[in-house]
């Protein structure tokens, strides 16, 4: 079973040379730490920066330079700042190659819910609705089950949707899955996790054909 860093590490393998990548808040943010350093990648943050670098050293943080999670950041050579409309032109115009974000629920048809629990929590969708409606390549990073042990991979989402039929791949603490043809397709098991455990933790249709390899990190 993977921890959050493990999920981030596995997702980092999906990041290819020449990719512009948007990382959501939470586990996705950790992905930047694990991307191979022999490939060229640029990170975009929807509040208006391309070419994000690591967090600043203590005392070097600048209130005017943050990411979408409101964290202080640095920029790398070749970076640029721009306004919010331009930022979403990059996203809506499909210039960002890969979007990695968290979710509360994903359905077997690719629907995703991650912004609202009616009556309980409404933080808002931020840029997530724009991202999932536009991105051609979306990976969801999340725990396979919620805090109550219930599957987050469902036949249909029960929470208000963020986007419809948009999720292509999911990496959880238990597995890597493609989402296509109305089902979750098991590709890899997390270290030490059996196919049976994944099946048991998945409420939606899960297809596991042939030998399912353990993921390499």
């Amino acid at each position: 079973m993977l921890d959050k860093n493990g999920i981030a590490k596995r997702i980092a393998k999906e990041v290819q040379d020449g990719y512009y990548v948007n990382l959501g808040i939470g586990i996705p943010t950790l992905v930047a730490n694990f991307v191979r350093d022999d490939i060229e990648v640029e990170f975009q943050s929807e509040n208006g920066v391309l070419g994000m670098g690591p967090f600043p050293f203590e005392g070097e943080e600048d209130a005017d330079i943050i990411n979408a999670g409101k964290q202080t950041i640095t920029t790398l050579a070749g970076a640029s700042f721009f306004d919010s409309a331009t930022s979403f032109s990059m996203i809506r115009g499909q210039h960002v190659d890969l979007t990695i974000l968290g979710a509360m629920e994903v359905a077997e048809n690719g629907d995703i819910a991650n912004w609202k629990i009616p009556g309980k929590m409404v933080k808002g969708m931020g840029g997530a609705m724009d991202l999932v409606a536009s991105a051609e390549n979306i990976i969801v990073a999340m725990m396979h089950t919620n805090k109550r042990g219930e599957s987050k991979l469902l036949t249909a989402c029960s929470l208000p949707l963020t986007g419809v039929g948009c999720v292509k791949k999911i990496v959880t603490n238990l597995a890597v899955m493609d989402v296509k043809d109305g089902a979750f397709h098991l590709l890899e098991r997390a270290p030490g996790v059996t196919v049976e455990e994944i099946v048991a933790a998945t409420a939606g249709t899960l297809i596991a054909e042939g030998e399912i390899p353990e993921m390499k990190l």
Partner: protein, 233 residues
């Protein structure tokens, strides 16, 4: 050169009244019009609608207007990080309209640019699209979203000149340029107000035509919401 300079925040906010709609730049606490917000608190205008990506934190930014119960309605994309907000929303004291972030930026931009409405894929198939016109273009579905209308836009830039030209720093730019010229009166506050001719005409982020009033803000706290650092190797 058409001179947009006013002497202080009081002059800059002349004409502000209760029941108006305001746009406020900033992302989180980054690039917010701190001086205009303080003056709105001092003026005590209430029953106002605020269009701003976020709602500040409990004791800073738009959180100050929430604290004083001056806001009737918030239009934002993300409103976490604010307990008083959540309390007012759940109790029904505060009306909230959540809008996808890119849509929010573009609804301001549309008002600035004279576009009445636009089609965006964001929110299609979700409750955000309920009651809105949707349409297929080239096999993909889009939602029709309308330009915002506001009485005042309050933005914050790094530098500006007397002609109203603005220059921003880092990610403090965010929504600010999109809101300039999107309201009847755009008020820009800057950290540094320079004479005309000092800014390179090639590197002006917002031309002065989109700004009606400009002033130097008395002080900026520029509070950091999530200070995150790494250890020195």
């Amino acid at each position: 050169m058409i001179n947009k300079k006013v002497n202080n925040v009081q002059d800059a906010l002349q004409g502000v009244e209760s029941n108006m709609t305001f746009m406020l730049g900033g992302f989180g606490l980054c690039g917010i019009p701190e001086n205009a917000i303080s003056e709105l608190v001092r003026l005590g205008v209430n029953n106002v609608t605020c269009i701003s990506n976020n709602a500040g934190v409990d004791d800073f930014g738009l959180g100050l207007l929430l604290q004083h119960k001056q806001i009737k309605k918030m239009i934002s994309s993300y409103v976490g990080e604010n307990d008083e907000f959540e309390r007012q929303m759940l109790s029904g004291e505060l009306e909230v309209e959540l809008t996808p972030q890119g849509t929010l930026a573009e609804k301001c931009k549309a008002a600035q640019a004279g576009f009445p409405a636009f089609y965006t894929p964001a929110g299609y198939g979700t409750e955000i699209a309920e009651g809105k016109e949707t349409r297929d273009f080239n096999g993909k579905m889009y939602v029709l979203e309308h330009a915002y209308k506001a009485d005042f836009a309050f933005v914050k830039a790094w530098k500006g000149d007397e002609a109203g030209n603005l220059v921003f720093k880092g990610t403090a730019r965010n929504f600010n340029p999109c809101m300039c010229g999107a309201a009847t009166i755009t008020v820009a506050e800057v950290e540094e107000l320079v004479s005309v001719g000092e800014l390179d005409p090639n590197h002006i982020h917002v031309p002065g035509i989109f700004v009606q009033r400009i002033f130097r803000g008395e002080q900026y706290e520029k509070r950091i919401e999530q200070k995150t650092v790494r250890q020195r190797g």
